[in-house]
């Protein structure tokens, strides 16, 4: 069987005063029967790669590297040789279906064109082949007699697919095959792509639709500014992305399966531009720049070496802008990141706690990766709070290890308590007890800063406190700042607690029922703000809640706890849609869900006790 390989492929477009880097040393392998997806935002070089595979790059493109078909080098082929390959060996479905068909010719004739050109068949014979090809993609051959403008977008797209497949090529490049199509058509085309792959065609799927990529691809390459940032098995892109960019991208998917609120990648899409500046001695020197897209013309100087994603990355360190990462193999995927992909912020291994005979927490593992939201759900007394307190360093486990940023938590607490405190914010359960009743609102919110930066000026302190209160949607009047906790309602107090936890700008926020006392409207705003912070600053969130609906909206991963065990933990999509543990399933059968409202009423009349508000956790677990 054949193989289409791309090795160290770089493409640069020349323009008058600058050059644009479209691809930067990309490696890729297409095998028959496999779907490889290339995902990335606009300008990442996806289409350039597709065109390169067919020798269709414009003259302004400078290409280096090799494209190998069955070990034969395609680079440097002349146009005649390329023509022999196109359609027969490698074919392509171009982006923008309507534009790639000639409006004055009937669809059928255009679909038949490759047959006529390459096989020299008569128009009639070619037409028969075209009808067959159209039928294969589920189109009524009678549609072939129409003109392109008489077909719908989906029909055109399928006609083009038929055209791409008509000569039975070994490899097909599909550039955005489902863009702008409704979900039904998209589904049909998706199924067809999978069938074509199963029939032995090697497919390169170029798309910005991550859901499509995940559904179809055996392997996904995440492209950013011409570089592959991550290569991973398709299904894992949405459930366990390894690169910060993949994680941020995966949050931008508005799929039917996902429940989490949409996130995104911070900052704007950029282009890589090499500017030619006349040097002092007449020689032209080239400087690499990242140029913002149309909306923001902000230009930032790209260091000679360094990670391209660094300006938009939330976990960057100093060396990220100095040293260039390589694509490195780890755990069945390849990641281009100096820090080895998304770093682990906190890892709890086998932590357990018991109070006398009561096992508050059986040995449990929990890993928090930078920038993700993990929700712990379960009923009162299931050990959620115990686990959260351990993660916050406020409760020592009887056994097990806690690692924060690669170092034992005990060591942090002993030697670098201040650093740890600055980077880990905690919102405790029961806001009324979590603040000193002798402190005013100002003193409560300012306390972490006063402890950690005792030399901070009064003005700055005031500003920061106001900012923190603003973040949680609280009044900023001087009068409010002078209030005492007992003068506030529980909702305001809870937000004061959140403001206090966020004021030092922590990278990890551990929140125990942080919005339990808030009105739905305020809760929504506060959670939105937390998710915004996640996008902007890479905030890692560990949230304890008994509200599964809430977890559904914010969680990347959900851990379900029962009687001191984490009975199930995994990507939110999986836990919510395909729960494995019976307890999770019972949680998901909440009687208040609208589709099951009627059984709920029946249960209520039957006198079931679930209508009671959840009781408070036993004190022992908060100690």
């Amino acid at each position: 069987m054949g193989r289409l390989s791309v090795r160290e492929l770089s493409v640069t477009y020349r323009a008058e005063d600058h050059r644009l880097t479209a691809l930067d040393r990309v490696d890729l392998d297409l095998h028959p029967g496999r779907v490889v997806a290339l995902v990335g935002e606009s300008g990442s070089g996806k289409s350039t790669l597709g065109k390169a595979l067919l020798g269709l790059l414009p003259d302004s493109a400078a290409v280096s590297g090799r494209i190998l078909l069955d070990e034969g080098d395609l680079s440097g082929l002349d146009e005649r040789r390329w023509n022999a390959l196109r359609w027969q060996k490698i074919s392509m479905l171009f982006q923008d279906a309507a534009g790639s068909l000639n409006p004055v010719h009937r669809v059928r004739d255009q679909v038949a064109e490759p047959v006529r050109m390459h096989r020299g068949l008569s128009s009639a014979d070619a037409g028969i082949r075209a009808d067959a090809a159209l039928a294969a993609v589920g189109l009524d051959p009678s549609l072939g007699t129409r003109f392109p403008h008489e077909l719908s977008g989906g029909e055109l797209q399928r006609a083009l697919l038929a055209m791409a497949m008509i000569l039975g090529p070994e490899f097909v490049v599909l550039d955005e095959p489902t863009a702008a199509l409704d979900s039904g058509t998209k589904g049909r085309i998706g199924r067809w792509i999978r069938q074509a792959a199963d029939a032995g065609t090697g497919i390169l799927l170029i798309t910005h639709d991550l859901e499509l990529a995940v559904a179809l691809a055996d392997e996904v390459h995440v492209l950013y500014l011409g570089q592959v940032l991550e290569t991973l098995p398709g299904p894992e892109l949405l459930t366990s992305p390894g690169h910060p960019y993949s994680l941020a991208s995966s949050r931008s998917v508005a799929g039917l399966d996902t429940h989490r609120d949409l996130g995104g990648v911070r900052g704007d899409a950029l282009y890589r531009v090499l500017h030619r500046h006349p040097g002092g001695n007449g020689e032209a020197a080239e400087h690499a720049h990242l140029v913002g897209s149309a909306l923001s013309h902000a230009e930032c100087h790209l260091p000679a070496r360094g990670c391209l994603f660094a300006p938009r990355c939330t976990q960057g360190v100093a060396e990220c802008s100095v040293e260039e990462p390589e694509l490195e193999e780890s755990h069945g995927r390849r990641i281009r990141c100096l820090r080895g992909g998304i770093v682990t912020e906190l890892r709890l291994q086998g932590v357990a706690k018991r109070y006398g005979e009561i096992h508050a927490l059986h040995p449990s593992d929990l890993e928090l990766r930078a920038g993700e939201t993990v929700c712990l759900v379960g009923e009162s007394g299931s050990g959620k709070t115990t686990l959260a307190l351990m993660a916050a360093g406020m409760l020592g486990p009887d056994q097990g290890e806690r690692i924060f940023r690669g170092r034992a938590m005990e060591s942090w607490l002993r030697q670098d308590r201040q650093f740890f405190a600055r980077h880990v914010g905690v919102v405790q359960q029961h806001p009324a007890r979590a603040v000193s009743h002798r402190f005013t609102v100002f003193e409560i919110v300012a306390e972490p800063l006063r402890i950690q930066e005792p030399r901070l000026g009064r003005e700055v302190l005031h500003e920061r406190v106001i900012g923190a209160l603003h973040d949680v949607n609280l009044a900023r009047e001087p009068e409010f700042l002078q209030r005492y906790p007992h003068e506030l309602n529980l909702g305001a107090l809870q937000r004061v607690c959140i403001a206090r936890a966020l004021i030092t700008g922590p990278s990890l926020l551990i929140a125990d029922e942080p919005t339990s006392a808030l009105d739905p409207g305020v809760q929504a705003k506060v959670l939105k703000r937390l998710l915004e912070l996640q996008i902007e600053k890479g905030l890692t969130l560990l949230m304890v809640t008994h509200d599964l609906g809430l977890a559904r909206k914010v969680a990347d991963r959900i851990g379900v706890m029962q009687a001191g065990f984490i009975v199930e933990i995994g990507p939110a999509v999986r836990v919510l849609n395909h729960p494995e543990h019976p307890y999770t399933r019972s949680l998901l059968r909440s009687p208040f869900r609208s589709e099951s409202a009627r059984p709920a009423r029946a249960a209520m009349e039957g006198g079931h006790s679930w209508t009671e508000p959840p009781s408070e956790e036993p004190c022992s677990s908060t100690n």
Binding site: A434, S436, T440, P448, I451, E487, R500
Partner: protein
């Protein structure tokens, strides 16, 4: 600060409705006024021996003159002042030690707690009065030194009271939060633990002052202080040899009465405050 923002706003109202508190506080206030106004109240220097001995009360000598020719009223006020000063010094120093030890013990627990609490047990087993008598008899230290020595011997009761409450406080979420924010031990103890237990200090202080006042009166009665130092106990003991004369009502009774009132004032205050702040009754106060 606006009274509206005072978390203890309702407390004063309720304290003022408690007869124990009102009586104790009024007594203490009257006695304090007597001391503060003594330069204007008494017409004579308490050490002036130029008056006619055994003179009965008159317009010039409201409570007569003693055997040494000294004005009794002036002597009484000076004695009250010295006795109370002794009590306050012991009370303050004892309370300070009690807070320090109690909070330290409760916060750090472990070996520090063990050592401090065993030391407290040891001191509780030693009769303070014996130590003071021996010290006073052999070394004749100044009353201030004795007051401090008494404080050194008397802190364990308040330390234990404070420690037992602080142990519970230690696990309060807001204390845990302050610790989590990176607050040092000193910060958490000083900023969070100490103010939280304020009512306990009042109880401990009143009890300590009462005990020290009684102790001072006893020691001076036994003649263990400098004989020229005025003290209520000393005045009583001076009057005793002349019990057969008709002087008891203006010489003997007033110091006994004053001492009783002084001790009563602090007893009543302690009882009242304890009722309000005793942890077992704390819920009523917090609500």
């Amino acid at each position: 600060m606006d009274a509206r923002f005072d978390p203890h706003a309702g407390l004063w109202r309720r304290l003022l409705a408690d007869p124990w508190f009102v009586i104790g506080a009024s007594l203490a206030a009257v006695l304090a006024l007597l001391i503060l106004l003594s330069p204007w109240l008494s017409l004579h220097d308490p050490h002036d021996m130029s008056h006619v001995p055994f003179a009965p009360p008159s317009g010039s000598h409201w409570l007569g003159v003693n055997d040494g020719g000294m004005d009794m009223f002036a002597e009484l006020l000076a004695g009250l002042r010295n006795t109370l000063a002794f009590g306050l010094i012991t009370g303050t120093a004892g309370l300070a030690l009690g807070i320090l030890v109690g909070l330290t013990s409760a916060w750090f627990r472990g070996w520090a707690d063990q050592i401090l609490m065993r030391l407290a047990d040891l001191l509780l087993a030693i009769p303070a009065v014996m130590i003071l008598i021996l010290l006073a008899a052999f070394y004749r230290p100044s009353p201030w030194v004795l007051a401090l020595v008494l404080a050194l011997l008397a802190w364990p009761t308040s330390a234990r009271l404070i420690r037992s409450q602080a142990l519970g406080l230690r696990n309060q979420p807001h204390i845990a939060a302050a610790r989590q924010m990176g607050g040092s031990n000193a910060y958490v103890i000083g900023r969070h633990m100490m103010p939280e237990l304020f009512p306990l200090y009042l109880i401990a202080f009143a009890a300590k002052v009462r005990m020290a006042v009684f102790m001072e009166a006893s020691l001076s009665f036994l003649g263990l202080f400098d004989p020229t130092r005025k003290s209520l106990g000393r005045t009583i003991s001076d009057a005793l040899p002349f019990y057969y004369l008709d002087i008891w009502w203006y010489w003997m009774l007033p110091p006994i009465l004053l001492l009783t009132l002084l001790i009563m004032a602090f007893t009543f205050l302690a009882v009242s405050l304890e009722r309000f702040f005793d942890p077992r009754l704390r819920a009523a106060w917090a609500g």
